[in-house]
């Protein structure tokens, strides 16, 4: 059996609310980070409110599979990745990832975490497809998703609106047969 939580550079963990709230408090102050990862307005929440939010969302986890990302080398917590099952009957989930600590961008950590979450989705959840959306200006994410096997499926025109600019969002997907073909895993 594979070690599902361990990649080449990072591992997937589950952190207690105190630890996550502290990390989010720091990461949320970096608005570029927020605006790359999310389409909600950037906000600053107290550590207390974040902790309560994290505790509350953990109660309802039958369709969400959230992990934190830690570097193998020094065990540093750098971000989060997860799958949100859109439908068990259609075996589809949405994927989301953010590397909150900008010192760890462009070093392959995020891509390694994406590889792990795809493996988790296809080997443990037995999904048939995994989908994601990203801002058209997030070139780093696009490269990472292309590298991990996602295929472009469309573009929503002007879906986002920031700094007075209406920009597109991009939508990608990977089917389980595509993932198996590229990883060489046996079905």
């Amino acid at each position: 059996m594979k070690d599902l939580y361990r990649g080449a550079l990072v591992r997937l963990t589950n952190e207690s609310p105190e630890v996550l709230a502290k990390a989010f408090t720091k990461w949320n102050q970096d608005t570029e980070q927020h605006r790359l990862a999310d389409d909600d307005p950037a906000q600053l929440w107290s550590e207390k409110k974040l902790k309560e939010f994290i505790e509350k969302r953990a109660e309802n986890n039958s369709k969400s599979f959230r992990f934190s990302i830690r570097i193998l080398e020094d065990d540093k917590l750098i971000g989060g990745v997860g799958l949100w099952v859109a439908s068990w009957t259609h075996s589809e989930a949405w994927m989301g990832i953010s590397v909150g600590d900008r010192d760890y961008w462009s070093k392959g950590y995020g891509t390694d975490a994406v590889r792990l979450i795809l493996q988790y989705g296809f080997l443990e959840l037995n999904l048939r497809r995994i989908s994601l959306g990203l801002h058209s200006y997030n070139e780093r994410a696009l490269k990472s998703y292309e590298k991990t096997g996602f295929k472009m499926e469309g573009r929503m025109r002007g879906e986002g609106w920031r700094d007075g600019v209406h920009y597109d969002s991009l939508w990608m997907g990977i089917l389980h047969e595509e993932w198996f073909a590229q990883t060489g895993a046996r079905i």
Binding site: D40, T89, R129, M156, E159, L175
Partner: protein
């Protein structure tokens, strides 16, 4: 041009109205016993609902309208006899980005192919663009729903995303098609008036 004399909720043969908690549950319960309707309207597994369950759903909808402020829900009725024939909604609105998702359905087969859906969509788009001031709307349609594909193409929606094999029904895989229409495109089609 401001056009407040033209009613937002009235078309030629249909109009929008609120939910009627007394009479609508019986009617909608009948629709849910038609698996075909459920599969055209929703991606969730079809299941028949009792009038009591429909009533609960209405309460949940009104709670969501009240608390989340990102859902607008209308019942579609015939103007002639105020009969409930369908529902229409704008949901998951992102106010900061100016977009929302639209969805509408005509409940019983006898009421389909009579132009009611087109009239309801006309009302829904005017509401989304003229009243809510959205920048764009999105409509997500299973590739097997040919009536809906035709309807949105007729209204000038552009096919923007095709999520490959996103649906599994009757042992077959179907794409999920996502259509978009911009406020500016809608305005142009209506000669600037909406």
């Amino acid at each position: 041009m401001l056009d407040i004399q033209t009613q937002l909720f009235e078309a030629q043969d249909v109009r929008f109205g609120p939910i009627d908690h007394e009479t609508h549950p019986e009617i909608e319960s009948k629709w849910t016993h038609d698996a075909e309707f459920m599969r055209l309207f929703d991606l969730k597994p079809a299941r028949p609902l009792s009038p009591a369950m429909v009533k609960k759903q209405y309460e949940a909808i009104e709670k969501e309208v009240d608390e989340d402020k990102n859902l607008f829900y209308f019942t579609i009725r015939t103007r002639e006899d105020d009969r409930l024939i369908g529902k229409a909604m704008i949901e998951w609105i992102s106010w900061t980005n100016g977009n929302g998702f639209i969805r509408l359905g005509i409940g019983s087969p006898e009421d389909r192919r009579k132009g009611y859906g087109s009239q309801a969509l006309t009302l829904l788009l005017r509401y989304a663009f003229g009243e809510l001031n959205l920048y764009r709307v999105t409509a997500v349609v299973p590739a097997y729903n040919e009536g809906a594909l035709r309807l949105f193409r007729k209204f000038g929606f552009m096919e923007e995303i095709r999520r490959r094999k996103a649906l599994n029904r009757d042992g077959e895989f179907w794409d999920l098609v996502s259509f978009g229409l911009l406020n500016s495109e809608w305005r142009e089609r209506n000669n600037g008036r909406g």
